[in-house]
Symmetry: C2
Subunit: 140 residues, 2 copies
């Protein structure tokens, strides 16, 4: 029976959502397994199935998994934050980089000050006041 | 003449691209001026006009400009880098944050070492307890 072959493997999440037959050369099937229906629903809601299919066809097969995962990340971020999406994440990270850079500059400046003001203290009475760093106090 | 009114103001970039009349309540018009046709073309290519219109209708009017700008940023990033889009930018920034955090921890550890090993030198018998840092040499 020809029709039973369609049910031998479950359709991918995309074909199930789009209510279409999942053929062996389905562009979505390797990246949208039936166990992860939300992944496709999110990507479809934000980008549209047709745009995703177009994008996947334009890139090399070995890069498609990364592309789908980045689209899924973007889609999820846009659904959580409809105004900023993952651009909001970029803003937070950019602020974090600026703050860390500022803090690092300040701590480095402290370290430079320490280097110029503080010297190792070897000058106890047991060495007759000599500073091994300078090689003596001029009275020897 | 009724038809001339459509030409009194130029249609927004979205309506011009979609070859439709730009009505006074056009959802795209405030954010896609005719002088910036690429902004709409990019957003349309990645998200689709219908998804963008749906998204704009779901958020408050005062947030729509930010939403359109973040969509335009995402779209441009995806066109530049079809595999990672702006998720690539997020990865770079996350790496930068980790590296800065690591460098900051190392410099802070140096500073703590300086605090415990290097102390201001007040202890020489030759300077009668005076601190050379403050300018006295003990012989004046």
């Amino acid at each position: 029976m020809a029709s039973s072959s369609y049910y031998s493997t479950p359709p991918c999440a995309a074909c199930k959502f789009l209510r279409r037959k999942c053929l062996t050369n389905c562009i979505f099937a390797p990246y949208f397994p039936p166990e992860e229906p939300i992944k496709f629903t999110n990507v479809h809601r934000i980008f549209g199935a047709s745009n995703v299919s177009k994008l996947l066809n334009e890139i090399a097969p070995h890069q498609r998994e990364d592309a789908v995962n980045s689209l899924a990340y973007e889609a999820e971020a846009r659904l959580k934050d409809p105004v900023y999406g993952c651009v909001g994440v970029i803003s937070v990270l950019q602020r974090q980089v600026l703050e860390l850079q500022k803090e690092l500059d300040a701590v480095k400046a402290d370290l430079i000050r320490y280097n110029s003001v503080f010297v190792p203290c070897y000058c106890s009475s047991s060495n007759n006041g000599e500073n091994p760093e300078t090689g003596g106090d001029g009275r020897s």
